[in-house]
């Protein structure tokens, strides 16, 4: 009984002490004591806390390693698929860009054309020709000129099937195109391809003065090819002593490898 009362007395005393301390705390009387105790604890707390942080880091690294490996694999796969998607989108964007430029040229010049996609290239190394996805069913005929953006001619239709055609590039050795220097209608010649690599203008009189950078365009002497389509720019002109004609090396203004969409002109300007 006495023990029971003693324990109840202690409980009541301690509860009363706590209530008193609550009052003293809010009256800020024991504030210096609290502050002193916190200062005493602080250095030991810091060391214990640091030890805790190190253990937590170790635990976190251990548990998250598996997650990190999985996440890395997932991100790697995502990167591969995004790179492929990005590549596809870039090609589409480039095709769209070419399409817009060609369309603008056609509208400005009120020309009818058939838009065609480049779907392949002749695998034989000596033949510089591209395969297009439009053919006779779409109104394409042999010798029709093929242009790209800004009216730059890249070749002529070599052969036609109902739903496809072959474009002979100007750089092919068999390609011949009647041309002239832009702004100087009397200087005419024939643009010939050189082994799939470059263009040269032949049959130009040695008397004609040709400057570097001048633009070479189609002369319109061919029935299916209108005048004024840009071929390239003059790189250099070479005159040989025992020859009637000079040879003009031309620089193409576009990269054949970048072609995705082309326009086949179906009527003249």
């Amino acid at each position: 009984m006495f023990r029971f009362l003693k324990s109840w007395r202690l409980s009541a005393t301690l509860l009363a002490a706590v209530i008193l301390l609550i009052f003293l705390h809010y009256l800020k009387i024991i504030l210096p004591l609290e502050d002193t105790l916190i200062r005493i604890f602080s250095p030991i707390q810091y060391r214990v806390y640091l030890a805790g942080v190190k253990i937590n880091d170790f635990y976190y690294n251990l548990t998250s390693r598996g997650n990190l490996v999985d996440e890395n694999e997932k991100l790697r796969n995502q990167l591969v698929s995004l790179a492929a998607e990005n590549s596809q989108l870039k090609i589409k964007l480039e095709a769209l860009d070419q399409l817009i430029q060609q369309n603008n040229f056609l509208l400005e010049n009120k020309t009818n054309a058939v838009l065609a996609k480049v779907v392949g290239k002749n695998p034989e190394p000596n033949h510089q020709s591209l395969i297009l996805n439009k053919g006779s069913e779409d109104g394409v005929l042999i010798d029709y000129p093929v242009i790209t953006e800004r009216g730059i001619i890249i070749g002529k239709i070599l052969s036609v099937e109902p739903h496809s055609s072959q474009l002979l590039l100007l750089t092919d050795s068999k390609s011949r195109l009647a041309a002239m220097i832009q702004g100087q209608n009397q200087i005419k010649g024939v643009v010939v391809g050189e082994h799939g690599l470059s263009l040269k203008m032949e049959m130009v009189s040695q008397k004609d003065e040709i400057k570097e950078g001048e633009i070479v365009v189609t002369s319109g002497l061919e029935p299916t090819i209108p005048a004024g389509l840009v071929i390239g720019s003059v790189n250099r002109a070479s005159k040989e002593a025992n020859n009637f004609f000079q040879t003009v090396q031309l620089q193409s203004l576009i990269r054949i490898d970048d072609l995705i969409v082309v326009s086949i002109l179906t009527d003249s300007l």
């Binding site: 301690l14 706590v18 209530i19 301390l21 705390h25 809010y26 707390q45 214990v48 805790g52 635990y59």
Partner: protein, 174 residues
């Protein structure tokens, strides 16, 4: 005197460990309340007065690092010790491992509910009270489970290091 100082030092160390290590640990480890476990252990198996002193001293030291109403933790610990003492004296009459576990679970859940009820009373009295985020899973599973594990560890550590909780067979004198 020596015993008093040793107990005071032990309270200091336990509070530092609780505040700087356990509370800063990741979930669910931060659900462990070492001071509460020791109060329950002392109240059930050792000495009720010791439990009250540990509740008083440990609670007051924990108040220094609490953002809540000053005195809430101490009141919660003392009242929990009182309730456990009443339950032990009236329902669990033997100091056994099982009574420790059951009273441990009751003590942990009771302590948290008590703090919440006191918090509501404070709001009624016009004081501000931060209702800490206490989820049902934390209150009814993680806290009782983890603190019970700690009680088991304390029990077996104490049993190993002391004769007080061991069975003693009295020799028969013929």
């Amino acid at each position: 005197m020596t015993s008093f100082l040793l107990n005071l030092l032990a309270i200091f160390l336990v509070v530092i460990f609780q505040v700087s290590f356990i509370s800063a640990s990741p979930w669910p480890i931060n659900n462990i309340n070492l001071i509460l476990c020791l109060v329950i252990f002392f109240a059930v198996l050792i000495n009720y007065q010791k439990a009250l002193w540990w509740a008083f001293g440990g609670g007051l030291l924990m108040e220094l690092f609490s953002q809540n109403f000053f005195g809430l933790i101490t009141l919660g610990l003392i009242i929990t010790a009182v309730i456990l003492n009443i339950l032990f004296n009236n329902f669990f009459t033997n100091r056994s491992f099982y009574s420790l576990l059951i009273l441990g679970v009751i003590g942990v859940i009771g302590y948290n509910l008590l703090k919440t009820i006191l918090g509501f009373l404070l709001i009624i009295l016009g004081f501000k009270f931060n209702f800490y985020q206490l989820s049902f899973s934390s209150l009814f599973f993680w806290q009782p489970f983890l603190n019970s594990l700690i009680l088991i560890v304390i029990f077996f550590t104490f049993q190993f290091s002391s004769n007080r909780l061991k069975n003693i067979f009295l020799p028969k004198n013929f």
